[in-house]
Symmetry: C3
Subunit: 159 residues, 3 copies
């Protein structure tokens, strides 16, 4: 029983800093007993690809190109000052130095806190991804109607 408190996050952006914000909000909310749902769509799917590096995926040429360019969890850029990929590493260093949980720890915490992960059906179609290519923590691949049902009566944030 959490008195109906619920937070649903649509994770559309694929930036390192957006991911940080999303998982901080998610774990912070779950730890004060909110029910938390995360819906990964579009660039956000990068965070839940099973292979964390850059890789060709999908069958069509454009899908393969996009998936390669997007990369995976290890290739999330900073939305500003990416510095050719050094930005996220600098940021992670700054977080460790200040005893702030780094992104990968926040993702682990999210799993432990039983935050529910969902992937967006349409975005997966467009990018030619299958459920097998996503981390096993993804409970389901759902569309807008499914997401609305999950998030009903709670707060919804689009990141």
């Amino acid at each position: 029983m959490n008195g109906g408190k619920k937070l649903s996050i649509i994770l559309f952006g694929g930036d390192f800093d957006k991911a940080l914000a999303a998982f901080t909000l998610a774990t912070g909310s779950a730890s004060v007993n909110y029910e938390v749902n995360m819906f990964f769509t579009f660039w956000g799917l990068n965070m839940v690809k099973r292979e964390m590096g850059r890789r060709f995926r999908g069958r069509s040429g454009p899908a393969r190109l996009f998936n390669f360019m997007m990369g995976g969890f290890r290739n999330l850029p900073l939305s500003r000052f990416n510095l050719l990929g050094a930005g996220p590493r600098l940021m992670t260093g700054m977080m460790k130095k200040n005893n702030v949980a780094v992104l990968s720890e926040l993702v682990e915490a999210a799993k432990l806190l039983k935050i529910r992960f969902y992937a967006c059906e349409m975005a997966m179609h467009i990018l030619g991804l299958t459920k097998d290519e996503l981390i096993p923590e993804i409970r389901d691949v759902i569309g807008v109607a499914g997401f609305l049902k999950l998030s009903e009566g709670g707060q919804v944030l689009f990141l």
Copy 2:
């Protein structure tokens, strides 16, 4: 009667992918009987300009410059991997290949589903745009207070 379910989307960003997300959320919600309001502001106004191409608009020099740079519906860039404008076309091709409704179809669906379109008064002032320059489906040009009234009691997303 939809039991008071309502979704209001503030469309601030002018990216092709944001537009895709906005219209997918809007049409998906409307098709399960949500009342849906879309409020176009700032870069989002590009999606509802009557002329879909690049064009000088507004009277002052800076307004004309911004409107030309922003372009219209046909000039929406991808937020990542725009590839000098090839990105949105590649994406549209990927959508067609996978039988996903492309952006222009989603906009048409939104009109058929009676989703209500509103334009932001302040952003129009800044960019020197008049209601005549927007598509006729724009019901009204409103400010923040008007938007709050419309969206009261429902979900609000900022894209």
Copy 3:
């Protein structure tokens, strides 16, 4: 008494246009009697640094580098067409010409309307900022749990 109407804005992005949208929504809502809370995090902290210009802050090298690159209120870039910093000035000119309140006026209005400003604890840790370096209008430095409590029962937007 405002009948419980409440708007909470998480200001994550540090763009001039996002700031404009945030303060327009905030002041517009406050002026029709909404209780408004603004939660500044990550790049959004730039808007509430006491020194408005570019400056080294924090103790570690990376923190100093990031703070310098981010700058302060006077260095907010436009998310598109920044034109090496000329974009925000052009935009401000367009706003003045059309009698629209410019960003600095909106911030002043927010203070007068008693909109409450909060800073994000974690982001301040990462960037090595202390409360002394923020404007005095910041009521408190809070975390996610604190923010959830403030925003409960109202609308929450992530910008």
